[in-house]
């Protein structure tokens, strides 16, 4: 039983691409610089500043998960799992926002 299942693993083999890795890395650096610039440009602690910083951080995390953690090469099941987690997280934020917005 165990051996039959472990054979499925071989389907996941893919060619790593250094070009993609370096491009991702470069993009992450640019986004980091953008975060720093945005914090100065918007005054650091305003709602706008935090929103921009969080948005950029989310894009960076997604790049890491998709390219460095190889989600793009993974089975559809894993993509669905990650999708479910994102939906859950956004729902938590939304429901808490209902409290904060109307309190």
């Amino acid at each position: 039983m165990t051996t039959e299942n472990s054979n499925n693993m071989s389907e996941d083999v893919h060619q790593p691409s250094y070009k993609l890795d370096f491009m991702t890395f470069g993009f992450l650096l640019i986004l980091t610089a953008l975060t720093i610039w945005a914090s100065y440009a918007t005054g650091g602690t305003t709602v706008l500043a935090v929103s921009i910083a969080m948005t950029i951080a989310t894009i960076k995390a997604s790049l890491v998960v998709i390219n460095f953690m190889h989600l793009r090469f993974d089975n559809i099941v894993y993509k669905i799992f990650v999708g479910v987690v994102i939906v859950l997280f956004l729902s938590f934020m939304l429901m808490m926002a209902v409290d904060y917005a109307y309190r």
């Binding site: 039983m1 808490m96 904060y100």
Partner: protein, 549 residues
């Protein structure tokens, strides 16, 4: 696997290796399950003793045995033990570990080393929690919920208990992860998703909650430790923090976790009932999918613990509405169980009666929950002993009753012996009676206005508190009688056959107790799903043990 019909040749997993090290470093899912069982049993007894002493304190108004601070520490420790060390790991770590691989037709979980590691994390977390008894300024007095800002300012040893809960959370995550991988990858050939036993479905839904919700409470508890240690204002308003944010983060985990407690229990009921009625379960798919629906909806109801905190009214309405939705998949299960029993050829056994007692208690737990979920009524009963009774009805009358039922159901499989049925009925009767007297009285005195977490009370509450304490004596006596019966039977009971209750799921096809690699013949699966009783004859062909009736 051998096709030998008379093969009792493979030794049971108890005999495969000997010595302490062969247990505490084992990778066998069955031994790990038993390690969990014995650890959880010890902590249950400790927690029970604390509960018993608290009830003695409440026998009469005024201080009887302790001062208020000790009472606060007692209910905190009782709550932490019962939640983090007993009920969260209980069914998944014991019966999930033991039965899931067998019920799926495989020889172990997908990640056996991780499985052992999770038990070790459990032990480390337990030792950390216990260390607060002898260390620092004494055990925490915050309640198991660690609400800020008091948890930030209390001079007791809150940080260590928080770190213990953090480590225990990891243990729970690893168990969940293991089960998800096992269910995805190790099902026997031919066992599709909708051919899995319903216990496996319950564990699967649970595992997703363990995996996705536990990290949130882990981080939240660490945030309290950081706030206590470095004075960073996260939750304490005096430092610019928001105490309601703590409650949001805490309950985002701690509400879904009540489904970690109940879904595997409901899975076990869905095993015991078809076996006892000797017929296929009514509404298999509805039960399987309702577990997933409960797990999913359970994520969005956490705010119902916070109606009186000053949270916005709009948010409260949303949370109250979603709370009522959870009743739908829950009711689907209960109706299906009753429909399965209806006109079945019912065999009364202790495990069936534990299950019926569960349905009774859980109905009371569920219906009292509707009153908590409704905004207007919750304001009146919030923080009264009504709430304490409500959650004991669901967690204790629910999950722990099923845990006891499962012990009786799978006892012959795990220990290869039968227990004394007469004593089992007596124990069940005492526990059921004591439980309902104790918590029934707490429900009523709660509605009358007695607050929870108080070591003293007004004279008008004395009568019901006395009744409640007397109930706890029956309850505790019944539990001790049950343990005595099971421990004695595990050593001296009659030898059990493979299939004493005539079940058809795969665990009844392996010897009792199972050998190290579980199966001594290829598992027999029915085309018609896991509860097809027409294959019973074929399964029982493998019986080799002589049963003296």
């Amino acid at each position: 696997m051998s096709e030998n019909h008379t093969s009792n040749s493979e030794e049971s997993f108890y005999k495969s290796k000997k010595g302490l090290a062969s247990w505490i470093f084992t990778l066998d899912h069955k031994r790990i399950a038993l390690l969990y069982l014995y650890s959880i049993a010890i902590f249950f007894l400790v927690g029970m003793t604390l509960g018993f002493i608290m009830r003695l304190e409440l026998f009469a108004p005024g201080g009887q045995l302790m001062n208020p601070r000790t009472y606060n520490q007692m209910f905190t420790f009782h709550g932490v033990i019962m939640i983090f060390l007993v009920i969260i790991p209980s069914i998944p770590a014991v019966f999930g570990n033991f039965m899931l691989p067998i019920m799926l037709g495989t020889d172990d979980v997908a990640l056996p080393k991780l499985n052992l590691f999770s038990w070790w994390l459990y032990v480390i977390g337990a030792v950390m929690a216990l260390s607060t008894l002898v260390w620092g300024n004494g055990p925490a007095d915050t309640g198991w919920t660690f609400y800020a800002p008091y948890s930030v300012t209390s001079d007791t040893d809150v940080s260590m208990l928080l770190l213990a809960a953090f480590v225990l959370g990891f243990s729970s995550i690893l168990t969940g992860l293991n089960f998800i991988v096992t269910i995805h990858r190790l099902r026997a050939p031919g066992m599709g998703w909708f051919k899995m036993p319903l216990f496996a479905w319950g564990l699967y839904a649970t595992a997703w909650i363990q995996l996705l919700a536990t990290p949130i409470v882990g981080i939240t508890l660490l945030m309290v430790v950081v706030e206590r240690s470095f004075g960073i204002g996260l939750f304490n308003p005096a430092l610019g923090g928001d105490p309601i944010l703590y409650q949001h983060l805490f309950w985002i985990y701690s509400h879904p976790v009540v489904y970690v407690m109940i879904l595997p229990a409901m899975g076990i009921i869905s095993e015991i009932i078809p076996t006892s009625a000797q017929r296929t379960i009514f509404g298999y798919k509805a039960i399987a999918l309702s577990s997933m629906a409960i797990a999913f909806l359970g994520y969005f109801v956490w705010g119902h613990h916070m109606f009186t905190t000053g949270m916005s009214g709009e948010a409260a309405i949303v949370f109250s509405f979603v709370t009522f939705l959870v009743a739908i998949p829950t009711a689907i299960k209960v109706f299906n169980w009753i429909a399965t029993l209806y006109k079945g050829s019912i065999h009364i056994t202790p495990n069936l009666l534990w299950s019926v007692a569960f349905v009774f208690n859980f109905l009371i737990g569920g219906l009292t929950g509707l009153i908590n979920g409704a905004l207007a009524t919750d304001v009146h009963i919030h923080d009264t002993t009504y709430i304490v009774a409500h959650f004991h009805y669901t967690m204790f009358g629910g999950t722990i009753f099923v845990f006891f039922g499962a012990l009786h159901y799978w006892f012959p499989k795990i220990w290869g012996r039968m227990y004394n049925t007469k004593l089992a009925y007596w124990a069940l009767g005492l526990v059921f009676f004591g439980f309902n007297v104790m918590y029934g009285a707490m429900l009523v005195v709660g509605i009358q206005g007695m607050p929870r977490r108080y070591f003293d009370y007004l004279p008008e509450f004395e009568h019901l508190n006395k009744i409640s304490t007397v109930g706890s004596w029956f309850l505790v006596f019944g539990i001790l009688l049950m343990i005595f019966n099971l421990v004695r039977s595990a050593r001296k009971g009659k030898k059990a056959p493979r299939n004493p209750w005539n079940g058809v799921t795969l665990e009844w096809q392996v010897p009792s107790p199972p050998p190290l690699h579980n199966f001594d013949h290829a598992p027999i699966l029915s085309e018609k799903g896991p509860y097809d009783f027409s294959i019973l004859g074929e399964i029982n062909k493998y019986e080799t043990t002589k049963i003296d009736k």
